[in-house]
């Protein structure tokens, strides 16, 4: 029980299941296969952005420009498509935009040594401004069918993008668990000096984290552009804060070195599910933000209480001479 409580992924998944059951009791329609799939489908953008953000947070950084990066990539995607580029090349252009945007953040943080929150706050303004300058402030509409098409594909009743995102989560989860370079993110975030003294490539690792955040934001841009079929000027607005909230909910610690892709994904799913659940419960969507904020605060507070209780038990055990005991 103690172990379950101290695992944030389990705590949040449990809370999510509880909320789903409660919602289902009030409104049985919620239990239908279609509504569950719809929640997954609606969460994809946030899941992808949160996964990218996770790498940055693991290295003890923060990236508040991911939403703007996604917006910029979506604008590039839409503009190139409307210029008549084939969909494949437009997607490459969007991914390149995300990569470059991420690399600019990475350059500022690792080479110019600008504190991450300042660097990415600056690029947040820059990318949002560029978005409007490229389009002249108007929405990008009349996108060709070729980009909307993938959203209609589905296998076994589940949309193609849900499968694709699941695959991305699985790959990332496997990679961060098994691959040596991926463990560097944890080492650098947990103890930067220590990682440096061990001879780990600290700055390249940080560089990689911000670049990955950009790449994932671009992937999210492709998914939501395909899903909604146009690009508005406030596309992915505020997603940077939601992505951070999703990570924190899912147990990715802002103090670095702790967290898993699965946690980040569950956190993002949770935040999206709250929205759907409120609708099913008949609460106006306007309460979304309040609810998300309360849940976030409640989860970090419970987490704090659990940690401090465990810590004091460990201390008690040590006083009794039971060295190392009490740690579950």
């Amino acid at each position: 029980m103690k172990r379950l409580l101290s695992s944030r992924e389990a705590l949040v998944t449990g809370l999510l299941l509880l909320l789903i059951v409660i919602t289902g009791l009030f409104n049985p329609n919620f239990f239908k296969f279609d509504s569950i799939v719809e929640i997954f489908n609606a969460s994809l953008t946030l899941v992808l952005i949160s996964l990218g953000e996770m790498f940055v947070i693991l290295t003890r950084g923060i990236d508040v420009s991911v939403g703007a990066t996604a917006g910029l990539a979506a604008v590039v995607l839409g503009t190139t498509l409307n210029l008549g580029w084939p969909v494949g090349w437009a997607i490459v252009a969007a991914l390149a935009t995300g990569t470059l945007a991420g690399m600019l953040n990475a350059f500022g943080v690792t080479m110019l040594r600008v504190p991450p929150i300042i660097m990415t706050l600056g690029t947040l303004g820059i990318y949002r401004g560029l978005m409007r300058i490229i389009t002249g402030g108007s929405w990008i509409e009349n996108l060709p069918q070729s980009i909307k098409e993938p959203n209609l594909w589905s296998f076994a009743g589940v949309p193609f993008f849900v499968w694709l995102t699941a695959l991305v989560i699985a790959t990332t989860a496997y990679w961060t668990l098994r691959a040596r370079p991926a463990r560097y993110f944890y080492a650098v975030g947990d103890n930067e000096e220590g990682a440096y003294l061990l001879g780990l490539p600290v700055r390249p690792t940080q560089f990689m984290a911000y670049t990955l955040a950009g790449v994932f934001a671009a992937m999210a841009a492709i998914v939501f552009t395909s899903q909604i079929g146009f690009v508005s000027m406030n596309a992915a607005d505020g997603f940077e804060l939601k992505a951070i909230a999703a990570n924190v909910l899912g147990g990715v610690s802002l103090t670095g070195g702790v967290g898993t892709p699965l946690g980040a994904a569950v956190g993002a799913l949770f935040l999206t599910a709250v929205h759907s659940m409120l609708i099913f419960l008949g609460v106006p969507g306007i309460w979304d933000n309040a609810f998300a904020g309360v849940i976030l605060l409640a989860v970090v507070y419970v987490d704090y209480r659990v940690r401090s209780t465990l810590e004091s038990q460990r201390r008690q055990a040590r006083i009794r001479g039971d060295v190392g005991g009490g740690a579950s």
Partner: protein
């Protein structure tokens, strides 16, 4: 202390930049040289200063408060709703400020009592306060309390609560000579905070907590109390900003100040406060806020679009920080060289 040291401070550099900026912008567009216009344009960014000045105190303690932008909307809508309920507008104003103080106190207690990162806490309250502000009119509507006049809920959601009394609008329209009221209030607020930060024990505690919280705890600093007050001031400043914007826009809205987060933090950081805590001054934030505000006004006046200004401000923030960091690195390098050469000599 040599008096020439004043020329080497960051605040002095900011003051020089501010003068240069006004000269250059005035040279391009002489309208800018008109003192009255210049002062009048402060109305457009006074709210940034109201929020940024007390935020400096929070950042000095190595904390951060991003929920201010939501507190602005919360204060504004509180003021509007209470006024619609038939209460005198200035009583409503006082209650709105009180709401800001309470919101700040909630942040402060959460930060002081737990070890959770202040960014996470104020991110949570950013959502929570914004959600409450957005939801309140709908909730009141649901309960049968018609808060939005005859035009209905849809009209309210479009234009906010309008028709506020003239005496309240006069708060931002009025002037002393040619200086608008809000700017005078900004200066008074800055002076008060500056005294608090630089001339009281409380102020020194803020720096000590930012530099080394453990040393602060061992030397008997009432850390929790000091932190709560820092966040209370930040919440109060944000509420003041919300009230001022309500008067300036002549309508109470839940989403006021939503895009102010970037300029607010830019002002504090450009003003010389270290985001990692332990340094920063009120004068620096004031000068940086004015620098940014006038830059925006000046660029708008010479026909630069809002979008490009956003890019310019972002780039400015990054380059200012980069220059500061590189100067720091160079300074260390020079000190090391000096120390080494002295050692060689003897």
């Amino acid at each position: 202390m040599k008096w020439t040291r004043i020329f080497r401070t960051w605040e002095f550099a900011l003051a020089v930049l501010l003068v240069l900026e006004i000269l250059v912008l005035g040279w391009i567009n002489p309208v800018f040289f008109n003192l009255e216009n210049l002062l009048y344009s402060t109305l457009d960014f006074s709210h940034i200063l109201f929020a940024a000045l007390p935020l400096t105190l929070v950042i000095i303690t190595a904390g951060i408060d991003i929920s201010g932008v939501s507190i602005m909307g919360l204060a504004s809508i509180t003021l509007g709703l209470i006024w619609v309920a038939g209460v005198n507008i200035f009583v409503a104003l006082a209650i709105a400020l009180l709401v800001g103080i309470l919101a700040g106190a909630f942040n402060g207690f959460f930060v002081a009592k737990t070890d959770v990162n202040p960014l996470v806490i104020t991110l949570g309250t950013l959502f929570m306060y914004a959600g409450i502000a957005q939801g309140m009119p709908a909730l009141l509507d649901f309960l049968g309390f018609k808060a939005y006049g005859s035009a209905g809920l849809a009209a309210y959601q479009y234009e906010g609560i309008t028709g506020l009394p003239d005496s309240f609008i006069a708060l931002t329209e009025g002037t002393v000579g040619i200086v608008p009221y809000p700017f005078i209030l900004v200066l008074l607020f800055a002076a008060a905070l500056s005294l608090l930060l630089h001339k009281t024990r409380f102020g020194r505690y803020l720096y000590l907590i930012g530099v080394n919280p453990k040393a602060a705890a061992y030397s008997g600093v009432p850390i929790q109390k000091v932190l709560v007050w820092a966040y209370v001031l930040s919440g109060f400043g944000a509420a003041l900003a919300g009230v001022m914007l309500t008067s300036y826009f002549t309508s109470a809205r839940a989403d006021l100040g939503g895009d102010a987060l970037l300029p607010i933090i830019t002002a504090v950081v450009l003003g010389g406060a270290d985001i990692l805590g332990g340094s920063g001054t009120i004068l620096g934030t004031l000068l940086a806020g004015m620098l940014l505000g006038f830059l925006r006004q000046g660029l708008l006046a010479i026909g630069v679009t809002n979008d490009l200004i956003q890019v310019v401000i972002g780039a400015l923030l990054i380059s200012a920080m980069a220059v500061k960091q590189l100067m720091h690195v160079y300074g260390e390098y020079r000190l090391n060289r000096k120390a080494l050469s002295q050692k060689e000599r003897g």
